[in-house]
């Protein structure tokens, strides 16, 4: 019995590791290897003004979209868990749409509404506000694809903590806002943080929706992922690989920072 138990445990571990290696670790490792194989030309390639602008744009878009989605996500989670209203099930279902719909479809849908010839875009354009093929469109697309992450992380945490702490705060004289800042938010902070981390990682890596709505103008509306795809298409493989490595390191560093912060607070 112990011998077969050990064997099956090792078997499972081996399977999990092998699966991860084949799908994740070896391909990522290859990118690292290739990027540093021709580090000279690769470095030159990703320090061109267009490449730098693409990385700057990716970070800028995330810096706008993620805070907006965090506020929306926490508010929406509170609405879904702490209140009862007609149409709650509908809102609940709509929030998951970005999970279900392909980003390319999201990009096309946004284009239909916000491009010059679109339903709403013409009017905006006439009033001097260009959405499609500009920063606002890219931000919109990123907000769309990262919409569910914070909500879906915070909802179960709100359920778990219950509302007794909030009721206690109210009987002690706290108004809604004080209760939220001093009791609710500290109680859900790890759910929020985790939602923010995965939403940020998702925002940095977004390709499909942004590729459609941005117009991919080099040095203007090209984000990091689009620049990498273009570099690859232009036979600048070292540049594409190193660009990919930089993007991966950005996402990983956010994860690491969050973990360090969490560990520090836990002690």
């Amino acid at each position: 019995m112990p011998a077969s138990g050990r064997a099956s445990r090792w078997g499972l571990r081996g399977f999990a590791l092998g699966y991860l290696a084949l799908l994740l670790m070896i391909p990522l490792g290859m990118i690292f290897y290739r990027a540093f194989e021709h580090i000279g030309p690769a470095f030159e390639s990703i320090t061109t003004p267009d490449a730098l602008h693409a990385f700057y744009l990716t970070i800028l878009v995330a810096a706008i979209a993620i805070p907006l989605n965090t506020i929306f996500g926490v508010g929406c989670a509170l609405l879904l868990v702490r209140t009862n209203f007609r149409g709650k099930a509908l809102i609940n279902a709509i929030i998951d749409l970005p999970f279900a719909i392909s980003p390319v479809v999201i990009g096309l849908a946004l284009l239909l509404v916000y491009s010059r010839t679109g339903w709403f875009g013409g009017w905006l354009d006439d009033n001097g506000f260009q959405v499609a093929f500009a920063l606002p469109g890219i931000v919109l697309a990123t907000i769309f694809v990262t919409l569910p992450f914070v909500v879906r992380e915070v909802v179960p945490v709100l359920h778990e903590i219950g509302d007794e702490q909030e009721q206690a705060a109210r009987t002690l004289g706290a108004n809604w806002w004080q209760t939220f800042w001093r009791v609710t938010l500290p109680a859900i902070r790890w759910g929020v943080s985790y939602g923010v981390v995965i939403a940020t990682a998702r925002a940095l890596g977004e390709f499909g929706a942004v590729a459609v709505i941005s117009g991919r103008i080099a040095g203007q509306t090209q984000t990091a992922t689009i620049w990498i795809a273009q570099a690859f298409g232009n036979f600048d493989q070292p540049g594409a690989y190193l660009g990919a490595v930089v993007l991966a390191l950005l996402a990983v560093s956010i994860l690491v920072a969050m973990n360090l912060f969490k560990r520090k607070e836990a002690t």
Binding site: E164, Q165, Q167, A168, A169, R170, T171, L172, G173, A174, N175, Q178, R182, V183, P186, A187
Partner: protein, 335 residues
């Protein structure tokens, strides 16, 4: 300060939680809302706190109408069954919460928190987190937190319900003493009649959303107005239309007028008290509560034939009104 509830009702969908309840809680008293689960006692408490709003009726606290006043402005202290401790705050910060909301001076807050922690015997644990406390300690912290803002009334919702039997007993006695020191008008909800009798000066017995009877513990026990109160407050035997307390069942060795033949089915020795479980010739069963001394004097044994007679019984009519006193021979025979 006194609390007056006037004709309060509350429904949750089709369920009538509180049904036209009126109630007066005197200034400085310690009152228990007693009833089985689903009797509406917790809902009534939450209505008084402002955590639920009644569908109809009025709540007066200290002579002013509080019905439309939100919970955070009602100046009530509320203690929850599961403590509702702020888990991310230390004990000190939990207790200081209400004072910080009221923007008191730091020195004043520290002094008040230390006083309260001493009052609830948690001095020395101020820098701990709730997760580092036992259940009883958490509930005392919650009580200190509620008392910190000097509430007009203190409301406790099954405060000892989540604690084990030993801690429950200690905290009951402690709450009684605390009330003698602090003297704030206090209402606590419980489903445990022993707890209510031990702690409260006044008990409000509730059933299916209505108040069955209000009075001091002894009055409820001695003069229950309804079948429900008699069987919920203390134990009771039912013999036909008669309701007899187990300690009012007389056990005799010889047949006497009004006494029925019965067989001892089982004897349970609980230390000082002995429970004698009996079956009457007609097949009805009842139990008698006697002292160990009495049991020894009567030389009672399992399987023995004895004669039983209620020394005191009650009859309730269809409306549940009671007739008090010693039963007549006819009544006993009818039973």
């Amino acid at each position: 300060m006194s609390i007056i509830v006037e004709n309060a009702s509350k429904n949750f969908g089709d369920f009538v939680a509180v049904d036209d309840v009126s109630l007066t809680v005197p200034d400085g008293s310690l009152t228990a809302l007693l009833g089985p689960s689903g009797s509406g006692k917790s809902t009534l408490l939450r209505i008084i706190a402002g955590l639920e709003s009644p569908d109809s009726g009025r709540i007066m606290i200290q002579g002013t109408d509080a019905t439309a006043v939100p919970a955070q402005k009602r100046d009530v202290g509320f203690v929850f069954q599961h403590y509702a401790a702020f888990k991310h705050m230390t004990v000190h910060n939990n207790v200081a919460f209400g004072l910080r909301i009221r923007k008191r001076e730091k020195a004043e807050i520290d002094q008040r928190v230390n006083e309260l922690l001493a009052l609830v015997h948690l001095d020395g644990l101020a820098e701990r987190y709730p997760s580092q406390l036992s259940g009883g300690q958490r509930q005392r912290m919650a009580l200190a937190r509620a008392l910190a803002v000097e509430p007009k009334v203190l409301l406790l919702d099954e405060p000892f319900g989540a604690l084990d039997a030993q801690v429950r007993k200690e905290l009951r006695a402690w709450l009684r003493r605390l009330h003698d020191e602090v003297h704030v008008t206090t209402i606590f909800v419980t489903h445990d009649q022993e707890e209510a009798m031990e702690v409260a000066e006044q008990i409000v017995v509730m059933n299916t959303g209505k108040v069955e009877q209000t009075g001091p513990p002894r009055e409820l026990y001695e003069h229950p107005k309804s079948e429900f109160v008699m069987s919920f407050v203390g134990s009771v035997n039912r013999l036909g239309s008669l309701f007899v307390r187990p300690h009012d069942v007389e056990i005799l060795q010889q047949p006497e007028p009004g006494a029925d033949e019965a067989m001892i089915e089982h004897m349970v020795h609980l230390g000082f008290e002995v429970r004698v479980e009996l079956v009457l010739a007609q097949g009805e069963s009842l139990w008698a509560q006697i002292t160990q001394n009495e049991a020894e004097q009567l030389e009672l044994e399992k399987g023995q034939i004895v004669y039983v007679r209620p020394s005191r019984a009650r009859v309730f009519d269809r409306e549940g009104l009671s007739t008090d006193g010693h039963p007549t021979t006819e009544e006993l025979q009818a039973a």
